[in-house]
């Protein structure tokens, strides 16, 4: 059993020839150096024109690998992998609040057979569900039998669903060939450091070759295995996304180095996420008062790394059993009891037809955005953020008061760019009492000049104006980017005419804590 769970270590693996890797990478990416800036142009927000057809085929329906896809396509995680082979200071596996949304947390774990049934049930209920991921709640590759048996079962019953997994990387080099065998073409590795001096403050221990290693020694093995695993994925043409948790004072500045290291080894996308560290989670960081970054600190780091590589900014740090569009969680609809009672028929043709309709919707959105790019030169160096209330599909279709999150777009002379999202749902405050909902929203989008909604009441409207955030409701049920650009040009004209003065906005807070009510 031991051998099966943790086979031969890296010592038996041949070293990867990095020159060869980069040669293959250049061929595999195709899009690698287009766009003049030298950065890979095939990242999160790129479209079909920016990348090689085979890469576009892989990412176009994957909500995590394509920012553009995440407005239209859904994912699900199945919690078949409870065991973990390392300990992270931001993770506490003991805590499981049903209303909690963060990685490492699940309500129930599944057998591979239950997972397969669940995937069929979700796929027939949510036709835009295109991706099945295994992300824990432990590490998929510390549970290899369960993980690969799940992939095997699902590829038999629903071959059109993309498979992906998310790992800490310790066991990755041992399983890369198995990953390739099951046609898992998206792998996420969480890499928080490439320097063990820093790593020892993030990882108290790793389990390696039947021993618990601690401190520097533990972090050194981990980083070696992660980078070797990344190189091996790149060699095989498997797309790799790197997740990094931004921990102010520990690895925030260092993540620029991490970004360079993973880019040079062929990573496709880098996702820098804010640390979640509320004391009630019982994590080491939660208990020792380690803070997470502010919204602007996070954005500044993402912007700094973007010069080198495409950054993912739409990650919702979802649970290991999440179901639905990113930003929503429908897992409560698909508990084991409910699934087992469901009469499921897999309708591959129906799903295909639905997804074709989604594609046309998506094309219309891209064309609408293009139509408003003229006339933006007036913006000069002016750059500002706007918040958008949306239920998906790239449309302004959510009421201000119902929004559980706002999507953030940066408007500049270059157009409208998705740069993040802010949770504004109500939170368990651990006995601190109810916070005023409107204050929560204003704190979360305080760095924005305007908020786009389908509808808004009179009172919040007045309070937003007082806070310096313009409520905009005249673009209800229209495309987000197109509407934002029309508004932006109007804003620039007013500034030019002297009707308003453009001022910079302050910072905003990233909300932490347990969800009080799940998205439905």
């Amino acid at each position: 059993m031991t051998e099966a769970a943790f086979p031969e270590g890296s010592s038996s693996q041949p070293a990867v020839d990095i020159g060869d890797v980069m040669q293959k990478l250049a061929e595999h990416k195709g899009c690698g150096t287009e766009g003049g800036s030298g950065k890979a142009s095939c990242g999160s927000s790129a479209g079909p024109a920016d990348m090689a057809p085979e890469i576009w085929e892989k990412v176009k329906n994957h909500p995590c690998y394509s920012e553009e896809a995440h407005h239209h396509y859904a994912r699900m995680h199945v919690a078949v992998a409870p065991a973990c082979n390392i300990q992270c200071n931001y993770c506490n596996r003991k805590y499981d609040c049903a209303n909690e949304s963060r990685p490492g947390v699940v309500s129930e774990r599944l057998t591979p057979e239950q997972a397969s049934k669940k995937v069929l049930a979700v796929a027939s209920t949510i036709p835009q569900m295109t991706v099945l991921g295994i992300a824990g709640p432990g590490d998929p590759l510390a549970n290899p039998q369960k993980t690969f048996e799940t992939f095997r079962l699902i590829s038999e019953v629903a071959p059109d669903i993309k498979l992906c997994l998310s790992t800490n990387g310790l066991a990755l080099p041992d399983w890369v060939d198995e990953i390739a065998k099951y046609k898992v073409d998206h792998v996420t590795i969480t890499i928080n450091m490439i320097d063990p001096e820093i790593g020892q403050h993030i990882y108290p221990w790793v389990f390696w070759e039947n021993k618990r290693l601690q401190g520097y020694e533990a972090a050194k093995i981990l980083t070696e295995r992660q980078l070797l695993g990344l190189e091996m994925l790149t060699e095989r043409g498997i797309l790799a996304k790197i997740n990094s948790v931004m921990i102010p004072g520990i690895n925030d500045k260092h993540l620029v180095e991490v970004n360079k290291a993973v880019k040079s080894r062929g990573a496709f996308l880098h996702n820098i996420m804010p640390l979640i560290s509320a004391p009630e989670h019982g994590t080491v960081f939660g208990l020792n008062g380690q803070r997470g970054p502010t919204a602007q600190e996070l954005k500044a780091l993402q912007d700094e790394c973007e010069g080198d590589m495409n950054m993912m900014r739409h990650c919702r740090q979802c649970r290991a059993d999440a179901v639905g569009l990113l930003g929503e969680d429908r897992s409560a609809e698909f508990t084991t009891d409910k699934i087992m009672a469901m009469d499921v028929e897999y309708d591959a043709e129906g799903r295909k037809a639905y997804q074709q309709a989604v594609e046309s919707e998506r094309q219309a959105k891209v064309e609408a955005k293009q139509s408003e790019l003229d006339g933006l030169e007036k913006a000069g160096d002016t750059k500002l953020l706007v918040a958008v209330a949306t239920k998906g599909h790239g449309i302004i279709n959510e009421h201000f008061g119902h929004a559980k999150e706002f999507q953030i777009y940066e408007l500049s002379g270059k157009g409208a760019k998705f740069v993040g999202h802010r949770r504004v749902d109500l939170y368990c405050q651990g006995g601190y009492g109810e916070e005023d909902a409107l204050d929560t929203v204003i704190t979360a989008i305080n760095d924005c000049h305007a908020v786009f909604v389908s509808k808004i009441g009179g009172c919040p409207k007045a309070d937003l104006i007082e806070a310096g955030i313009e409520p905009v409701d005249q673009y209800a049920h229209e495309f987000i980017e197109q509407s934002a650009l029309v508004w932006f040009k109007d804003y620039l004209a007013k500034v030019e005419a002297g009707e308003i003065v453009h001022v910079d906005r302050g910072d905003a807070a990233i909300r932490q804590g347990a969800l009080l009510s799940q998205a439905s």
Binding site: M1, T2, A4, A5, F6, P82, A83, C84, N85, Q87, R93, K94, R109, P137, G138, A142, N143, F207, N210, K211, R212
Partner: protein
Amino acid sequence: MAYKIVASQCTNCTACEALCPNMAISEAKGTFVIDPDKCTECIGHFDDPQCVAICPVDNTCVIDSAYPRYQA
């Protein structure tokens, strides 16, 4: 002696079950238990008891003093 699992702290993560060289660990009544007749404290197999080394919650896999020390 053998090791035992403090049930109130066990997260049911299953990690120890697969690692035990004696197959002494199994799931029972919503938690994991160690069969004291099978547990050898990993003596003769590994330098460290594997369940202790992998357990995500400190002081959850502990020596059960109700049993005499294991003799290899």
